[in-house]
C-alpha cells in the first residue's frame, strides 16, 4: 500500500512538485507566478526540496537575464507518484468511484 510522504504534507510543496511533473524544467519566476508566492517563500521551499533530492536547480539565462531553472528529480517524481497513490487510496476508501 502506498504511503504518505511527510515532505509533501504541505499543499504548497505538493503543488510545486505537481507543476514540475507537468514540464521538464520551469523558470523560477514562472513557477513563483503559478504558485502565487513571494520569491523568498519559493526560494525556501526549493532549497528544502533540493536538500532531500526531490528537485534540482541550476543557474541559467532566460530572456537575456540570469535566472534559476528548476526541475523534478527521479526521487522527487517517485515520491510524488507514491503520495498521489496514497491520496487516491484515501479517497477510494470512502467512495471507490472517486479514485
Amino acid at each position: 500500500m502506498a504511503e504518505f510522504d511527510l515532505n509533501l504534507q504541505s499543499l504548497l510543496r505538493f503543488k510545486l512538485l505537481s507543476l514540475l511533473a507537468a514540464v521538464t524544467e520551469l523558470e523560477f519566476a514562472a513557477l513563483r507566478d503559478e504558485l502565487r508566492v513571494s520569491d523568498s517563500v519559493l526560494s525556501k521551499q526549493v532549497s528544502a526540496l533540493a536538500g532531500i533530492d526531490y528537485v534540482r536547480s541550476r543557474k541559467g539565462v532566460h530572456a537575456g537575464r540570469r535566472t534559476t531553472w528548476i526541475s523534478l528529480t527521479r526521487t522527487g517524481r517517485r515520491a510524488l507518484t507514491e503520495h498521489i497513490t496514497a491520496l487516491r487510496d484515501t479517497i477510494a476508501r470512502v467512495d471507490p468511484h472517486l479514485r
Binding site: 514540464v23 521538464t24 467512495d95
Partner: protein, 186 residues
Amino acid sequence: MESSWTPQPDEAATALGDARRSQEGLAARLRLPGLFFGSIAVAVATQLATTAVGLAVGTTWSHLVLAAGLLVFCAVAVVQLTRFRNLNGVWIAGLAHRAVLGTATTASLSYTAALAGAVWAGHLDLWWLTAVCSAAGGIGYALGGRRWFSAYRGDPVAHSRAQSRWQLLAFATLAAAGVVLLLAAA
C-alpha cells in the same frame, strides 16, 4: 518518507483537485511563438525536397542542397524552441522530441511516406510531384505536432517527458537505414 500523518478524504480530494487544476492551468497558459507550426511545416517541406534532390540527382551540388535543407530545418527548430522557452519560462522535452523532431506517430509516418514519395518522384524526374509530396509531408508533420500539443494540454504529466534514449536510438537507426535503402535504390 513514511509518516503517521493521514489526511481526511475531503482533504485528499482537495489536494489532488488543486494539483490537477494547477497543472492544467499551466498547460493552458503556454503560448506558442508566432508561426510555430507553420515554420516547422515549411522547414520540413524544404528538408524533404532538398533530400529528394540530393538523393535523386546524386551530384556534388545536389548533396550540398541536401545539407542546406538539413541546416534550414535545424535552424528553424532551434529558433522556435528557444522562442518557446523564452516566451513561457518553460522547457518541455516532449515538445522538442515529439512535435519538433517528429517522433510523434503522425509526424513520423507523414515524414516517412512523404520522403519516399518525393525521392521516387525525383528519380522519375517528376519534380512537381516531389514538390507536392514535400508540401504534404511538411503539413502532415506540423499537424502531428499540433495534435501532440493538444494532447499535452489535456494531460500534461503523461506527455511532458522526453523520449527515452533507446527510443531515440531506434528512431535514428531507422532513419539511417531508410537513407541507406534510398541510396542503394538510387
